[in-house]
Assembly symmetry: C2
Homo-oligomer: 365 residues x 2
């Protein structure tokens, strides 16, 4: 990314654009349209909404956690009728819940269902494949929008095969880059919805992107140096192999959960099969402040754990275990937590680090 | 910018945010609100509009060139009544033209006037100070929006002193960074307009930014590594001194124009005092294609000149002379053009490089 910034209207850039869009299709598992914006992942949230919907349209979201609710709030701001479903965020959204909503929607008012694949604030993963299948079986025409910010290139996700309509993500999670790029895939039903969608839009407009992308450019100045990094990230992921990338994240998730269980703490996630391979949200014992522990660990060991978000503020800390991370860096992370727990005088059972090592060593053997 | 990406919700980041916002105020010449987005400069165009206006509002823009007209198009897309004024883009917008529009607007329908300070497609600079003064003298309450994408930190611009309402820019010009950040300043009248503006918005919303910025954070994941670069860019500009930065750009502009005059070509800019200090658009002799010359120079000398945009496509090439550039790199640029002209068999008078050297040497003595 430190290379000089080339002319974004020149031939070298044109070739780069075509390579990046092809690689983004590959990583999303799609042959459909993909888009790259200079933006955060929340920009892609907005792009999904303004490109496909009209003011007054009904959409459904679930109280999965901080990010799902923030996305729903974006929809509210664009004048959508957001049916935010009460939900126990410690579990993933179930296909049955979605099916019931759609079957109750006799006149098919619901235009889109917005689901977060991996809710980064809770470390709970929702079975998107099953939800997409349930929606298809229902015969209801609602679009399925997926927030894959912390799942893309971390956990298996297949835009075309599963029949997703819009998949959004960002550069800074599984794609291993600094923040600054929003990426998304849009299937044919989303593109069709775009034709009649009337929310005003300019920066996020898919037509502009498609027209420019077809010529190997972007409709305005792209974040060139992050695009260099994106190309390298795709190359690194291809070299490791996506099956290996997914397995590595599963292994790291298991190791972290082994440590947390040994310490004697609960995770926010309560269903084993839904535990996130990207991040684990750990619940503090009653009477202990997670942010005080985080501050101590930052000060003593120069490591910044994730803060609790929304309703979990102060009650959880989060361990990220995704992206460009290897087993020994993860062990350093867990050692920092275990030492921090000791220094903070938080009741726990030592041995979490050893338990994680046992998991990693077994899988490496 | 290659440093590890720190926690954007941590204390180190909080201090960085406060430093950056203070420096951005300094560079814009304002004590008012400033905002930083992960976006291109065109994102800041959109932010200016959606934060302050409502569908149906009337705004004025002038046919200054490709970027002014693109910005006007953004306004059209958000349902504004855009009075796009016919204008000879080879000259800057005059205060008289703005005054006449406002005095003809008896019922004060015009909510904002959108002007590009330095139209990068033509190399023509508009006297913003004079236009702002004329607007204030008119007593008309229209807001003044300035595109300072290629003028901020290149040419003198004083948001507060001149009485600008919204000033927008990007990271990749005078701020010397790769693209990926949009920056803007908003004065009290713009903030007041924000209170009643009804265009739906989320990503660009100033309220979210202000609330988060007050706590040293951003409302969503910021482009952290570009922010590291922004801090260094401010430090470099401060070290050089803004008077010196402006003088350097004036010197480089003079040198380029001396070369172009020697070659015997016209620039798009026809008024000497309006010639851009950021970029010069050079008109090709009749019958010669600017893009063919650009392709030849790219192939032979690995230098990408700016393409003609909009109505100037194929008729002009553009020499950028802004940002992190020194005299000798500029001389290399001009040598590439002069050799390219010779190789392409384009009629011209040799000696442009020598003329530029004379300008630079005289000013260095």
């Amino acid at each position: 990314m430190s290379k000089p910034t080339i002319d974004h209207r020149g031939p070298e850039f044109e070739a780069l654009t075509h390579r990046l869009l092809a690689d983004l299709r590959w990583i999303c598992g799609t042959t459909d349209d993909v888009f790259i914006y200079p933006a955060s992942g929340s920009g892609a949230w907005e792009a999904a909404i303004v490109n496909t919907l009209s003011s007054g349209d009904t959409v459904v979201a679930f109280e999965q956690g901080f990010f799902a609710q923030s996305w729903a709030q974006v929809a509210v701001r664009f004048g959508l009728d957001v049916r935010l479903q009460s939900w126990d965020g410690r579990q993933g959204v179930t296909p049955d819940a979605v099916t019931k909503l759609l079957s109750d929607d006799g006149n098919q008012a619901i235009k889109a269902v917005m689901i977060v694949h991996n809710e980064t604030s809770t470390g709970v993963t929702t079975n998107i494949k099953a939800i997409a299948a349930a929606m298809q079986a229902s015969g209801h025409p609602a679009l399925l929008f997926i927030d894959a910010v912390s799942s893309l290139a971390v956990t298996d996700l297949r835009h075309d095969e599963w029949g997703l309509d819009v998949t959004v993500s960002g550069s800074q999670k599984g794609l291993t880059l600094p923040p600054g790029l929003a990426v998304m895939a849009a299937g044919p039903r989303a593109i069709a919805a775009h034709e009649s969608a009337t929310i005003p839009r300019s920066y996020w407009d898919w037509d502009d992107q498609r027209a420019a992308n077809a010529k190997g450019s972007f409709p305005y100045t792209p974040a060139t140096n992050l695009l260099y990094g994106l190309e390298e990230a795709f190359a690194m992921l291809r070299e490791e192999g996506m099956d290996n990338v997914f397995a590595r994240h599963r292994r790291f998730g298991s190791a972290v959960r082994a440590a947390v269980a040994t310490w004697g703490f609960d995770t926010v996630s309560t269903v084993a099969s839904e535990a996130s391979q990207a991040a684990t949200a750990v619940i503090m014992p009653d009477g202990h402040d997670a942010d005080a522990l985080r501050a101590l660990i930052l000060e003593r060991f120069d490591m910044s754990l994730g803060t609790g978000l929304g309703e979990w503020k102060g009650r959880v800390f989060r361990i990220g275990h995704l992206g460009d991370l290897n087993a020994l860096a993860l062990m350093g992370t867990l050692a920092g937590v275990e030492m921090g727990l000791g220094l903070a005088g938080i009741p726990h059972t030592a041995g979490g680090v050893a338990a994680a090592m046992a998991v990693l060593a077994e899988e490496a053997s």
